[in-house]
């Protein structure tokens, strides 16, 4: 069974933030909520590295374990989704999540949290596929249309990969090995077009 995963190649991400914009636009995410964000460590230094991060759709999701109303479920594709009709906005999933994926729009006085919102892997929610209610609450259901999440589909450097975990991890490891080989044996000009990463490009 396919298990959907995101992989972000830190050697390719150029921090263009287009994945954030694409996600916001495609899913019409409410104000103040960003389902995806790009984090840059060592900004401005030689080893500057960026990663695009959202819900990682964990196999054993901490959010699902802690939720007091048990509103999370995992789809057949291994996507972790939640039911906004059940969510009470307690914020526990946000405390438990390592990636800061769950987001809360403010609802009412004193910073009272509204229904949690997070990346759905563009797979909608428990409502009927392509229904208005589904789009309203969870955004586009691209998976049901046979498409992958837009953030990854439109990533210009193909740093962000989304899809069946087995497939994309193979793709990624192949890419990493190839890149490393090119770096180690850079004088081998007979091997045709080469794969480079930022680390190689900015090495010297």
């Amino acid at each position: 069974m396919a298990r959907m995963k995101f992989i972000c190649d830190d050697d390719r991400c150029i921090e263009c933030d287009a994945c954030i914009t694409a996600c916001k636009n495609e899913n019409e995410v409410p104000w103040g909520v960003n389902r995806r964000r790009v984090v840059t460590l060592n900004d401005g230094k030689a080893d500057e590295t960026s990663i695009s991060v959202a819900c990682m759709h964990c196999s054993d999701a901490p959010c699902a374990q802690v939720c007091p109303v048990n509103c999370f479920y995992t789809t057949e594709d291994g996507v972790v989704l939640h039911d906004k009709d059940l969510c009470i906005g307690c914020g526990y999933c946000f405390y438990a999540c390592p990636f800061g994926a769950p987001q809360f729009p403010q609802d009412g006085a004193f910073g009272n949290r509204g229904k949690m919102d997070k990346c759905t892997f563009c797979a909608g929610g428990p409502e009927e596929d392509f229904s208005e209610a589904e789009f309203e609450k969870y955004g586009r259901n691209r998976l049901a249309e046979g498409k992958l999440p837009l953030c990854a589909e439109m990533c210009s450097t193909k740093a962000l990969l989304a899809g069946d975990g087995d497939v994309i991890s193979k793709l990624f490891s192949q890419r990493a090995v190839e890149r490393q080989l090119n770096q180690e044996e850079s004088d081998n000009s007979a091997s045709g077009p080469k794969l480079w990463g930022w680390k190689t490009a900015y090495k010297e």
């Binding site: 984090v39 080893d47 990636f99 800061g100 910073g111 680390k199």
Partner: protein
């Protein structure tokens, strides 16, 4: 060479060093830069979440359930073995005011809010494993949403009650030498002794100070959890939640014992809190020093009353200690 043996790349430490530094930084939650503005949006991973999850789900919910169950079990056993602590002498019919109107209102105001907070709070902690199967997913989620809101608003009101209690009962609850004797005689619950006590006995004082200390912690952490818009880091919220739950469970254990003693555990205790008056026999059995103080007071003139109250009970307690 690398093309033949790709695994040798693992030995090429220089290439991997950068990579390792980056992921170490990510795991440690080093703050970087993010175009997404917000609290901690510039952190890739917050590792304390999984520790909080373990403490909340395993230690607090797991152990808490046992602690509460054992408390109820212990109280039930105590009731079955010892039974009600009855008055040893017949009622005199003479009633003495023990709690004035303000004290009674304050007591039941705080008690009502406490019970509401305990039920709603425990629902969030144990509801998933106990109530969902029973009433269904949607019904519980609807209830839990209101429970959360009620809990959030009732909390500060409860804290007001705690502060007022602290103010009006502080004097009566200072620990004195006589309380040591009370605890050594196990408060008269075990055996047939009637340890001496002033207006508050050792047990009441212990409960008062548990309320004050755990109540303070619950209030401070609760207010913090009440306002997630103050841009606290998640670590602050996690620690607040843990302190809040542990202190609240301690209070619930204390409250169970308090409610037991105040209702079915002791003859005449509840009527004292409801009507404000207790029988003289009851006062003599449970709060002898207090009764003596009151009697001394009524025999002296109005002007002297205030000064005599404490000194008499103090002297009396000292002589009692010498005797024992």
């Amino acid at each position: 060479m690398f093309r033949l043996f790709p695994f040798l790349l693992l030995l090429s430490t220089e290439a991997l060093a950068d990579e390792r530094t980056f992921w170490r930084q990510a795991r440690e939650g080093v703050e970087g830069y993010s175009a997404v503005v917000g609290v901690e949006t510039n952190k890739l991973i917050q590792a304390t979440g999984s520790q909080w999850l373990y403490i909340r789900n395993e230690l607090i919910a797991g152990t808490g359930a046992w602690v509460l169950a054992l408390t109820v079990f212990a109280l039930a056993c105590f009731y079955l073995i010892r039974g009600k602590v009855c008055l040893t002498e017949p009622r005199s019919g003479e009633m003495i005011e023990r709690w004035n109107k303000k004290e009674r209102w304050l007591h039941f105001y705080t008690a009502t809010l406490f019970i509401i907070l305990a039920i709603t709070g425990l629902s969030l902690l144990f509801g998933r494993s106990l109530i969902i199967d029973w009433v269904g997913h949607e019904a519980f989620a609807n209830y839990a949403e209101y429970a959360k809101i009620i809990h959030n608003y009732a909390g500060p009101l409860f804290s007001v009650g705690l502060v007022l209690m602290g103010l009006i009962w502080f004097e009566d609850n200072k620990f004195r030498k006589i309380d040591g004797l009370w605890f050594r005689q196990l408060g008269g619950f075990i055996g047939n002794k009637h340890p001496s006590a002033g207006r508050m006995n050792g047990g009441e004082k212990a409960w008062f100070w548990l309320l004050m200390t755990a109540g303070f912690l619950v209030t401070v952490t609760g207010l913090n959890l009440d306002f997630p818009n103050l841009e606290q880091y998640r670590l602050v919220m996690q620690i607040s939640h843990i302190i809040h739950s542990v202190a609240a469970l301690l209070l619930i254990v204390g409250a169970l014992a308090h409610i037991y003693i105040g209702t079915i555990g002791t003859e005449g205790a509840l009527e004292g809190m409801i009507t404000g008056k207790v029988d003289k026999t009851w006062a003599k059995q449970h709060h002898d020093l207090w009764l003596e103080t009151l009697e001394k007071q009524s025999s002296t003139t109005c002007g002297e009353r205030k000064h005599t109250t404490e000194s008499i009970s103090q002297n009396k307690s000292e002589t009692l200690l010498k005797k024992s």
